[in-house]
Amino acid sequence: MPAPDPPLLTTPLHAQHRSLGAKLVPFGGWEMPVQYRSILEEHRAVRTAAGLFDVSHMGVVEFAGPEAQALLQELTCNDLTRLQVGQIHYSALTTEAGTFVDDLTVARLEAQRYLVTVNAANLAKDLAWIDARARGRGGVRDRSPEFALLALQGPRAAEILQPLTATPLSAIRYYWVAPGTVLGHAALLSRTGYTGEDGFEIYLAPQHAEAVWEGLLSAGPPLGLVPCGLGARDTLRLEARMALYGNDIDEAHTVLEADLGWIVKLEKGEFVGRAALARQKAEGVRRKLVGFEVLGRGIARQHYPILAAGRPVGEVTSGAPSPTLGKPIGLGYVAAEHAAVDSQIEILIRETPVPARVVPTPFYKRPR
């Protein structure tokens, strides 16, 4: 008899999701809300007012001490020497081939203390990867169980959060983090997100998550706040051209092929995958992750073939109807000669090639 699947993990907010009538699904070993009322409604709320997401399943790994920076410099492709205390950057753990072990954010909390937030599904893999190379250096600690994480995202996020915190939110710039409180509970307020909107990712002790979740959901609705699930999280991040591990990025594609060259700082010195990425940069990539919009009738989905003049040139990695743009959009790898903006391609949707076009990304940019 096959062994039963291990039980799904739940966040401290699981009971809240149930009582709100969320549709719960397995995700990366966790039981998470995919939607509360409607993915489209939740998506629009984030674009026009605000949405509240439980992302407590994500992994949180601390690097601390005198060797923390050097270790992170070796293991990731972005340059930590440019990161000031309180600042955050997007980066990746890379393989020797310059491909993705994981994508992540690095927050410098103190001169010698960094908090790295990683994908839930990759936590065990990332820890093993780091431990194998750290050889005891860098004060690496898995602090995931110590944090619940709430993402408050949308143009009205600051307005909704401000009455609940003594920290002046206008002092926290985008991609910066500050310690503070929410409803009197200690929190890290990180002005980051996965939606393309302004907002805060609020790191909290798990025992305070319910109080803060409930506090936001009672103060917020008059300003348009709704709880949002992973369904809307996916359509929002796609419009903002933010990569999803397992779809757009993985161990088979390099950071340059994923068109994320801006996080690769070859000049910073040695790091895992540097030689491969330097070579690829010199030679040029042979395939590239591009954004496209579907011009005909049909929705592009992961794994659908991409054709050019009837011949296969790539594959869709992410695809969905875009609620903001009112048309189907997607990301996919295509052979470099078809990667230029305005390249005419077709998406094979159930045996029918549907016309599409490579477009600039992000598909959506918030008004500033």
Binding site: K23, V34, Q35, S38, I39, L40, G231, D234, T235, R297, G298, I299, R301, A320, P321, R350
Partner: protein, 129 residues
């Protein structure tokens, strides 16, 4: 939620007999399980369909689902309104959200389908409502 004058299939489609044709759509349970419907692929008028065979596709934001015909016959009409307004499947699944009409090859096939009570019992046994 499950009108008494319809017959229901195990694939969560409904059919309403209108003389020699049957009007077909998806049930309340199906549209609720799908979530927001964003795309419907309709069959071509004139196409032959077979009972329990696929005849089209309904897509939600996240997923693609096949549509199964409850009966055999010829497609005589499709609801082209769904091209511009797929959300009708959610808001009015038994009315404006109908999907296709089939000229019945064998009206006796309707007897083999569930009535409203049997469909609700079927849903309960599946864990739905």
């Amino acid at each position: 939620m499950y009108p008494a004058d319809l017959r229901y299939s195990k694939e969560h489609e409904w059919i309403k007999a209108e003389g020699g044709t049957g009007r077909v759509g998806i049930t309340h349970h199906a549209q609720q399980a799908l979530g927001d419907v964003v795309f419907v692929e309709l069959p071509a008028v004139g196409r032959q369909v077979t009972a329990m065979g696929t005849f089209g596709v309904v897509e939600s934001v996240k997923a693609v689902s096949d549509l199964y015909s409850p009966v055999s016959g010829e497609v005589v009409e499709v609801n082209t309104a769904l091209e511009a307004k797929p959300e009708l499947v959610n808001s009015d699944c038994y009315g404006a959200g109908w999907v296709m009409a089939v000229r019945l090859a064998d009206p006796a096939q309707l007897e083999a389908l569930m009535d409203a009570a049997a469909y609700q019992a079927f849903l309960a046994s599946e864990g739905g409502q």
